[in-house]
Amino acid sequence: MVFWLRRRDGLPGLSISIAFTLVWIGLIVALPLTALVLRPWQDGGAVMLRALHDTRMYAALRVSFGCAALAALIDVPLGLLLAWALVRARLPGRRAIDALIDLPFALPTAVTGITLATLYGPTGWIGALLARAGIRVAYTPAGIVAALMFVGLPFIVRAVEPVLRGLPPELEEAGLLLGASPLQNFRRVILPPLLPPLVAGFSLAFARCIGEYGSVIFIAGNQPFHSEIAPLLIVVRLQEYDYGGATAIALILLLSALVCMTGVAALRRRVSRGLVARGAA
């Protein structure tokens, strides 16, 4: 096939870029992931079976998936607000805010971790305020959600922003002029075209949050069955020199994340198809 391509395609460099790319992907991504897939079965499946009966693992998966979903969900309206302001508002300091939104993506997770743990801690700037209201965030699952919210926010904004930029503002004004209430206008005119990018942003944030480690462990409290995330349980198993157990959890985490993402992708397709159908009707 390669030769066929070469004859028809005038451009040189095909074989060298194929060789280079395959070696690069092979050594850095494919080889280690192969080890991940094969290792749990190496000692005859018993390790995998044991992992599948581990209630602590299910609790950790529930914490990871639950907190990630909640955080990404809270990020949806926040991200929509920021994207809307960036595109539509007369916003002084727009360039600075635009740059700041990517900060959670560039800030090292350990920095995020110790900072949020201090900020939401019992004597922290936000934590002290909440403590007076009787709310504890740090060292509870709420702390995990707070950290994941920070990490997931840019994904929503960056997914919605380009779509919003492509929508004419006249559309919204027409809705209002035709007598829709602001709420009706939002539900019937503004929201529908933004739904697909919102779902896309949600799924990206969700995916990132499921595997998140550094920004969470400082604020989480890390109690088994309560505030222990799945990536941390992998580290715990490694520290017990239980490579098989750690790999089994890793594989289950990766597979359930992939299943979740496939589900969200299907949902996304349904949302966009529903829109097309409604638009055609």
Binding site: M1, L5, D9, G10, L11, P12, G13, S17, I18, F20, W24, I28, V29, P32, A35, L36, R39, L81, L82, A85, R88, A89, L91, P92, R95, I97, D98, A99, L100, I101, D102, F105, A106, L107, P108, T109, V111, G113, I114, T115, L119, G124, W125, M149, F150, P169, R208, G211, E212, Y213, G214, P231, L232, I234, V235, L238, Y243, A250, L253, A257
Partner: protein, 271 residues
């Protein structure tokens, strides 16, 4: 263009400032305040501690090598994927982007499965006295995995848009592959390339989870800057921990600002 009413705009701007302040600005402010709590000299001295200096050195070396490898690989992969059409192209792109959705902890674990004591090649390495896991090579491999996709990912949409007419013309005029890549494709894509390199560097410097799994956590030897922050923080050396964190936060902010300027430039250039 009408835009929102004056009152609506004021409410929107206020809500935006409040969100940005509470969610994004407050954490950065806290890092700086905690770092300077006992004065700038104390913060400076904490950076000159031998373990801190060694962590900075290790981080820079590992990030430099990882960025070089993944920039070279990313350029070649982007060329392959955008200049030719072939079966399995989509799968290749998916494989390149896969590391983004892998938990950092797993990105570290996979290398232990190959090179750790209980790993596939652990015995062999042990017998030949080669240390990969819990040493610098392991840290480098973990960083390579985590920073893998970013150059390729930033280049691909740009080079796709570029098409291949310029390259074909260069080839007809007698330029070979390397010359075409170096003189035609990359100069045109330089902003996208730079943006991708910046992102790779930032992720490399800041990687925590993956590196944490394959590092032996030996201060002064196998600790990178983020790992050293953890050690300091857990040892209640708050000022030193936040000083190192402030350094990383400044690097992150510089990265984000530079990238925003670059994107602004190539959005303007392409429109």
């Amino acid at each position: 263009m009408g835009g929102p009413s004056r009152r609506g705009n004021a409410v929107l701007v206020a809500a935006t400032y409040l969100t940005v302040l509470a969610v994004l600005v407050l954490p950065v402010l806290l890092v700086m305040v905690e770092a300077l709590r006992t004065g700038i000299m104390a913060a400076w001295r904490s950076l000159l501690d031998p373990d801190a200096l060694s962590a900075i050195r290790l981080t820079l070396v590992v990030t430099l090598v990882a960025t070089l490898v993944n920039t070279a690989g990313g350029i070649m992969a982007a060329w392959l994927v955008t200049k030719y059409r072939f079966r399995g192209r989509g799968a290749l792109v998916a494989l390149i982007e896969l590391p983004i959705s892998v938990s950092p902890v797993i990105a570290g674990l996979v290398w232990l499965l190959l090179f750790g004591r209980q790993g596939w090649w652990g015995d062999w390495l042990d017998r030949h006295n080669i240390q990969i896991a819990f040493a610098t090579p392991g840290i480098l491999l973990a960083t390579l995995f985590v920073t893998f996709p970013y150059v390729a990912r930033t280049l691909m949409p740009f080079m796709e848009q570029q098409g291949r007419e310029a390259e074909e013309a260069a080839f007809l005029l007698g330029a070979g592959f390397w010359r075409t890549l170096w003189r035609v494709t990359l100069p045109d894509a330089r902003w996208a390339l730079l943006s991708g390199i910046l992102l790779t560097t930032a992720r490399g410097i800041g990687e925590f989870g993956a590196v944490s799994v394959v590092s032996g956590h030996i201060p002064g030897l196998t600790e990178t800057m983020p790992l050293h922050i953890e050690t300091l923080y857990n040892g209640y050396q708050t000022v030193a921990a936040f000083t190192m964190a402030a350094l990383l936060a400044l690097i992150a902010m510089a990265t984000v600002l530079l990238r925003s300027f670059l994107e602004h430039d190539f959005r303007k250039a392409s429109s």
